[in-house]
Amino acid sequence: MIAYRLYKAGDTGGLQVVTVRFFAVLKKLLDRETMHVAHDGPMTLKTLLDRLEVELPSIRSILREGRTLIAINQEIAQDETPIVDGDEVAFLPPFAGGSH
């Protein structure tokens, strides 16, 4: 965590590479589990979402439904949450653990 903050403080808007993960129905629709997104300059979750809406039309309607949570480094994130180089962004459809 400290490493990230130091990095962000010193960040001058260089190339950010983030890993994006998809689960369950999203993984099935995209037929892929992960992808890497490179972005030049500062970035928030909103920046990333705008890009993926264009690049991944097959899951656009699901993302717009608003029932998919998004985690950055395993913590639930909001549109304005910053994303930095090395982050893992995960798209989480509605959960269904347990037995019924």
Partner: protein
């Protein structure tokens, strides 16, 4: 906390493909304290139908690291909010056949009321916040289950 740091400390949290033993888990928790007077267990099993459709099999997928972290949060909050002694949570993932075990929550307390309250809260919370997904193969095709539409 990086995902890798969550594994080792989680003696009472398990996400695994293998089946579990209710007896073993009860015994393990009983050894925690001689003050234990009541143990409440919730065992979730795979039913053979869902929303009117026959189920052949189910598959659970999860987000490794985050799922364990969430289960651990549930355990710690239960220990803090209820007058209980220990909580164990096990959730299976991967392929599960009809009738098999899916999830086990064991709560030990001095008194039963708190054990009942805490156990029920844990399973409700598990369903609410844990990144686990269920795919059902039914007679009418494959369904990603959404519990609370």
């Amino acid at each position: 906390m990086s995902p890798k740091e969550t594994g080792s400390i989680l003696e009472w949290i398990k996400i695994q493909e293998e089946d579990f033993s209710v007896e073993e888990e009860s015994n393990r928790i009983k050894e925690r304290s001689k003050r234990i007077g009541g143990i409440v267990t919730f065992l979730g099993t795979a039913r053979d139908f869902s929303k009117g459709k026959d189920i052949n099999r189910i598959d659970f997928e999860y987000y490794p690291g985050m799922a364990e972290k969430r289960l651990n949060e549930i355990r710690e909050r239960a220990l803090q909010d209820y007058d209980i002694i220990e909580v164990s949570i096990i959730h299976r993932v991967g392929r599960i056949e009809t009738g098999e075990n899916i999830v086990l929550i064991v709560v030990a307390a001095e008194h039963r009321k708190d054990a009942f309250r805490a156990c029920e809260w844990c399973i409700d919370e598990l369903k609410r916040i844990t990144p686990i997904w269920k795919r059902e193969e039914t007679t009418q095709g494959e369904v990603w289950v959404v519990e609370h539409p």
